[in-house]
Amino acid sequence: LQRQESLVLKSLGLTARPSPRSPPPVPHLLWKMFHKRANLSSPASEEGKTPCWVEEFRVPGNIIRVFPDQGQFIHSDKPRSWLCLQKRLYFNFSTLDKGEQVTMAQLQIHFHHNQYQVASPGHPLELSLYQATQAALRGMSSHAYSRKLLVEQSFIHLHKSFVFNLTEAAKMWQTPARNLGLVLEIAGGKLCSGADSFLDTSLLVVSLAHRQCRSTRKRR
């Protein structure tokens, strides 16, 4: 029975029966997408639609994952007063199969803020997102290693959520040696201290496992 189970799990893309230790909550969007699919009696038979197409994002794909951020906050020896948050973002892609093709990646940044509507009245905060392109050695300052600016955005309300398209970066991260993560910086406000305590980031990735995508067209 165990051998049979391992064969089934392998076909599901799993190395062993998962035993979640600290399972994160299921994102609302995934629940919504699941229920939409469950309500379709036979999605494959829908006219003009293939089962390996994610309509919500209009990209090919049959696997949708939400990766929690595993990065740490960066605590510099020389704190810069203008910088209220500096954090590494890291998403572990080891679970992706070699044959999988990433077709979309979306970084979601949520501020679970319920105390202040405005972080710094009259002074917008600056959010910058960098892709780390070279590993940093211990003791090096954050600017000593090379990084590429991906996004810059001003905002005032800390309760806001942001979504950024990181498809190109995520495609690169399928090669483990090139997955050095991101650096998120929020700068500018006087009242932004403690912003880290309510920051929540995750990466939603759509990928396509070709082997499990079969044409639904009937043979003539």
Binding site: L12, L14, R17, L30, N62, N92, T95
Partner: protein, 113 residues
């Protein structure tokens, strides 16, 4: 000459109802949804002569002919799934990531010989 025994409609090859509960399989810890699904299975005879609605292959038609001539030497064709449909499963993977995945060939819709 051949020997024809009519088979009752209930014994004819067709999909039968099977609900698979992930709790019964012991997978309830990591599969978030659904808790189970109607997977069905194929069961029944493929008797001679094969009716058209049994989705028979040419091979099965000839096998029933040969079976009718020599029941001891050649078995009847098997009743197997000929059309399956996919389902989506929401689960935690080995790294505690939440995954929504589309799986082909999970539900038996039609059986044939």
């Amino acid at each position: 000459s051949t020997y024809y025994v009519p088979t009752g409609a209930s014994n004819i090859c067709k999909p039968r109802r099977l609900y698979i509960s992930f709790r019964d399989v012991g997978w309830e810890d990591w599969i978030i949804a659904p808790q189970g699904y109607l997977a069905n299975y194929c069961l029944g005879e493929c008797p001679f002569p094969l009716a058209e609605d049994l989705n028979s292959t040419n091979h099965a038609i000839l096998q029933t002919v040969v079976h009718s001539l020599d029941p001891e030497g050649t078995p009847q064709p098997c009743c197997v799934p000929v059309r399956l449909s996919p389902i989506s499963i929401l689960y935690y993977d080995n790294d505690d990531n939440v995954v929504l995945r589309h799986y082909e060939d999970m539900v038996v819709d039609e059986c044939g010989c």
